[in-house]
């Protein structure tokens, strides 16, 4: 009996020793990686997250139709705040979109009345892509649009848009909450804009183009291209982002450019600050997609956008990439073009800020121009009414702020007119 008691006490003490040891090691440690680090000095690894579709195109314009009038954001902070407030109703509306039917122009314009939200993009997008970006399936939505309106009518919340493929206005019912939309629009009830069709002074613009009437002052930026070629070295972290091993790559200078070659992978750091990556054979930078995902356009976009953001951060560059165009050829090679946005406004340039070619879930070509931007003053943007007056005689234009480079290389916020140019196939 005594022996058994001793054995039991021994077992209990051994178990409690293990428990106390575990508690002692994990006290204040939040994760398994942190525990490994404490015990073995192994550095914690970053948690890998699965790619999820997310919006790759930034909104060009946003307008809330409130009981007092139209409200547009006057700064990038306010735009983000309004987009965040609208996101729940927008997801619900786009996710529950029903059967679309054709409507007249007059019926469409009548929907631009409180409570309603107008969302415009800089590029033509398929409705299917907008659905995948809010987490719903893309099947059966072939419409292509550059803008949409979420509006409440007698029967509930509807979405309306001009279908670029069918060349007609369309409207579809949704299951979104009308009360939420009304509450949202009431919360921003300080009008500062009009729609073009509401003011004869904006006859040169698209009828449903929202126009900000208040003056906006925005930052002027100076641009510093990345000086990798001049410094003679691309940072190791950036090389690793391009899947180039800095210890194995051959490095040489060619016509003022720095060239890194490892196997079939070539990275060229140009004298003007651009980075060009090419890969031959079956190699290339993996986007982390499984075999079944390589044809999923929304995941391709997200993988590419995440890669660009990471490379940009490693290069110490600024700005946000926004989708301009995506196309796939008969060989299954997808080419994606991105614009660069500063404070939510596109930087006007002769060519896209980034061009990426993807085949089989791997990037085979990537060109980007990572630049550093520094605030160099402020500029009041030309009032919309004055800009519109200079466009008399034109038709169907959009009016929005873009960063335009001047002769001194500064980026100046400028009200620019534009027609529909880009698209997503």
């Amino acid at each position: 009996m005594r022996e058994r008691l001793k054995s039991a006490v021994l077992a209990l003490l051994f178990v409690s020793m293990l428990v106390l040891l575990f508690v002692s090691l994990t006290l204040g440690v939040e994760s398994d990686e942190g525990l490994l680090s404490r015990v073995f000095g192994v550095p914690a690894t970053a948690e890998e997250t699965e790619l999820q579709p997310a919006p790759a195109a930034e909104a060009r314009v946003l307008a809330f139709c409130t009981p007092s009038g139209v409200r547009m954001p006057e700064s990038s902070e306010e735009k983000n705040e309004m987009l965040s407030a609208f996101s729940a109703v927008y997801s619900e509306a786009v996710g529950s979109i029903g059967q679309a039917s054709g409507i007249t122009r007059r019926q469409y314009l009548a929907l631009l009345d409180a409570p309603a939200v107008y969302l415009g993009f800089d590029t033509e997008l398929p409705l299917s892509l907008l659905r995948t970006w809010v987490g719903y399936d893309a099947a059966g939505f072939e419409s292509r649009l550059r803008s949409l309106v979420v509006s409440a009518d007698d029967d509930g919340v509807v979405i309306a848009w001009y279908d670029m493929s069918a060349e007609e206005y369309r409207m579809a019912p949704t299951a979104a909450a009308a009360a939420q939309l009304a509450q949202l629009c009431t919360g921003w009830d300080e009008p500062n804009a009009v729609f073009a069709f509401q003011d004869a002074g904006f006859s040169a613009l698209r009828e449903d183009e929202p126009v900000l009437l208040s003056l906006i002052t925005a930052a002027v930026y100076s641009v510093q291209p990345s000086g990798f070629a001049q410094s003679g070295e691309v940072p190791r972290e950036l090389l690793a982002g391009f899947d180039i091993n800095p210890y194995l790559a051959r490095v040489y200078e060619e016509s003022g450019d720095m060239v890194y070659v490892e196997g079939y992978n070539v990275l060229r750091a140009g004298a003007q600050g651009e980075l060009v990556y090419t890969s031959g054979g079956e190699q290339g930078i993996s986007l982390g997609l499984s075999y079944s995902q390589v044809d999923d356009q929304s995941l391709l976009l997200e993988g590419t956008r995440v890669l660009l953001d990471e490379l940009s951060a490693q290069a110490g560059a600024g700005g946000v990439y926004s989708l301009r165009e995506i196309s796939t050829d008969e060989n299954g090679e997808t080419t994606i073009l991105f614009d660069l946005l500063l404070d939510g406004w596109p930087v006007l340039a002769d060519r896209p800020a980034a061009r990426v070619t993807v085949r089989g879930g791997r990037v085979t070509y990537l060109r980007m121009e990572p630049h550093r931007f520094e605030a160099a003053g402020e500029q009041t943007v030309l009032p919309a009414r004055q800009a519109a007056a200079a466009l008399q005689g034109e038709r169907g234009l959009c009016l929005s702020v873009r960063y335009v480079p001047d002769e001194e290389g500064l980026l100046i916020p400028t009200l620019c007119s534009s027609e529909a140019l880009y698209g997503v196939e």
Partner: protein, 261 residues
């Protein structure tokens, strides 16, 4: 050596080891607490130097640690509450995260982010409807506070005794029964996604704001802010700072100023 004596020696050895481990744990806990208190004290002195006016005891009374919680949306629980309110009901998945249950007794609508609407035409009174809903979906750690009168009653969702901002369910009388609307939590028991930042870090975040504008802090309170996710909600701790003419919210996991409905 007899096995009996070996056991005795092992017992004595394990007793000593366990005692040392227990003392080590006690020392670690005391040390962490002392460090945390010292950090908070230093942070409060920084806040004072930034010109903010406050009662420091309010900050000492804030919880030492908070957690960010993740709650998965549960279609089973939604079906359960719909069944309890409507009896046998048909379900229409309208898309966009909208689930609509209907029967002869009325309708119940669940939306993403915990938004909820119900209308019953069976003569139910608002107070009974509200109690029925909040008790059916209650999970461990969550409570509620009821307020109102005969015309309309409201329940405020609480998490570990702290208010969940914006999570209010209101029931009103209708001609044929009662209607409920608002935002609540209908998911399973939330799980921890990570810890919030320390009290000291929150005070340092407040200090940055104090350098931008004068702060006369009247009250500090912990609340939980609901963030709508595709699959459920994230419940993040936040500090509600009551000032003279406004209130500001600081996210408890980033220290950033946020807006809370």
């Amino acid at each position: 050596m007899e096995w009996n004596k070996v056991k005795s020696m092992l017992i004595a050895l394990l007793l000593v080891v366990n005692l040392l481990l227990a003392l080590n744990i006690q020392t670690l806990i005391s040390s962490q607490r002392a460090n945390e208190q010292e950090s908070l004290g230093l942070a409060l002195s920084l806040l004072e130097k930034a010109g903010a006016q406050f009662d420091s005891q309010q900050f000492w009374d804030m919880p030492r640690s908070t957690a960010v919680l993740l709650g998965e949306r549960s279609t089973e629980r939604e079906a359960q509450i719909a069944g309890a309110l409507l009896g046998e009901a048909s379900l229409n998945e309208a898309g966009g995260g909208v689930s609509i249950y209907t029967s002869a007794a009325g309708s119940v609508v669940f939306r993403s982010g915990g938004l909820f609407e119900a209308e019953l035409n069976d003569g139910t009174n608002p107070a009974d409807l509200l109690e029925h809903i909040v008790q059916t979906v209650q999970v461990r750690g969550m409570g509620y506070e009821i307020s109102g009168d005969e015309e309309a009653v409201s329940a405020q969702l609480l998490l570990d005794g702290w208010m969940v901002a914006g999570a209010v369910l209101t029931c009103r009388a209708t001609e044929e029964g009662a209607a409920a609307s608002g935002r609540w939590y209908f998911g399973g028991e939330p799980v921890s996604e990570g810890a919030g930042v320390s009290r000291a870090e929150m005070v340092v975040a407040l200090t940055r704001i104090a350098y931008e504008r004068p702060l006369n802090i009247l009250n500090v309170q912990l609340v939980y802010a609901q963030e709508q996710l595709r699959s459920g909600v994230r419940l993040s701790p936040a500090w509600r700072i009551e000032l003279e003419n406004e209130q500001i919210f600081l996210n408890g996991s980033t220290g950033q100023e946020i807006s809370v409905e």
